[in-house]
Symmetry: C2
Subunit: 207 residues, 2 copies
DNA sequence: GCCGAACAAGCAAGTGCTTGGTAGAGTCAA
DNA sequence: TTGACTCTACCAAGCACTTGCTTGTTCGGC
């Protein structure tokens, strides 16, 4: 009866390979069907075990998304910090942030989709308070870089930076919904195309 | 027993004011909580009736979204056709399409969110086959306008039009998730800011 | 007296999660 | 070397609850 509460920390908190597998399976399902529409039986079926067995590895369905999101957000935060720290100037900071964001499509496709689709619902619960916090952090990072660019005269003065950030963020993150790893464009190619449009526009130079 | 099957066409198919009210209530809930996460009891509660009573007006929960989406998509399709027909040149076709798309934020905020969030899940069912079809139609409209602009030399030749369309579409539609009718920007103001960035980029002209 | 709109009650299916148990691999003192 | 032990990963069964939807009935207004 108490035995389930004394499972070694290694199994319940991290470490185990099987755990990681199960998390990846869950992430895939949460991303494609949605968190609410995915049942613990769906996850167990995909893993080839029974639903009850999942509770050997995880406290709850919620704690699975929790872990998936935290891992992704931590990685993304570290990446952002590094990019801003190493950037030579505001313009290359922005372009590199865009490249890194599109690059994340390869590393965390499922987590990005979940973050995008489920943040609103999940943020209702205390345990997911960090979601809006991290979102604000990301916004601050981008807006600071944009602002620095304006001060330096590289970016137009008539830009509303909050709006500009939202335009960029929506374009970049929403790409998970149509990006196809087997498709003809690499994330890098997509990033370069977007950087061109964002920096110089779609209108011909000679116009 | 058979009585529920002989309700007048007026009530079951359209017309009734109460029906329209109920649809609006359902749309709001579907948009904010998601289709699956919204229960028929939620809708009934919000309308001040019992869940069973909803089935006097509608066949099923599915037929409610169906109707909500069809209405929005028909309106949007008509608007797109008119814009393209009346546009003087490719550039004003694109800018006007953008203005109209942002304008839809006021008329159909709930339907846009539902279309965006639930299309993927709903398209699994035969009755929603029209969703990908209409999406393709919209894509064709935009890509034709972009292509015409390229031919006319107004738009850059190095644009991948499919990518360009996706960038625009994602930015415009995703705005429902943060647009606030009480906020400081009107849809028009947001549209103009985006048109500026899209056409000329964020980099200062003198650079 | 009919008809639109609603209620009251409930069903079958499915939900997340709990429980008590076990097979098998590893650990280690006697 | 053996036997008692622990640990991991899982199963089988089921509980309390929620889901979309159905049924039979009521009631006020034209």
């Amino acid at each position: 009866m108490v035995s389930s509460k004394r499972l070694s920390a290694r199994t319940r908190e991290s470490g185990s390979e099987r755990r990681a597998e199960l998390l990846a399976i869950a992430a895939e399902l949460f991303a494609t069907r949605g968190f609410l529409a995915t049942t613990v039986r769906d996850i167990a079926d995909a893993a080839g075990i029974l639903s009850g067995s999942l509770y050997h590895h995880f406290d709850s369905k919620e704690s699975m998304v929790d872990e998936i999101l935290r891992e992704f957000l931590d990685d993304q935060r570290r990446t952002n910090e590094r990019v801003v720290r190493e950037a030579a100037d505001p313009r290359s900071a922005i372009t590199e942030l865009i490249r890194q964001a599109f690059g994340a499509l390869l590393r965390h496709p499922a987590a990005i989709a979940i973050f995008q689709n489920e943040s609103k619902h999940l943020a209702q619960f205390d345990r997911f308070d960090y979601l809006p916090t991290v979102a604000d952090e990301f916004e601050d990072t981008w807006i600071e870089a944009l602002h620095a660019g304006q001060q330096a005269g590289v970016f137009r003065e008539d830009l509303d930076l909050k709006l500009t950030y939202r335009f960029i963020r929506d374009t970049v993150w929403t790409a998970v919904h149509w990006y196809d790893p087997q498709g003809k464009h690499s994330p890098q190619a997509i990033a370069e195309q977007y950087i061109t449009i964002l920096c110089n526009g779609i209108v011909s130079p000679e116009e």
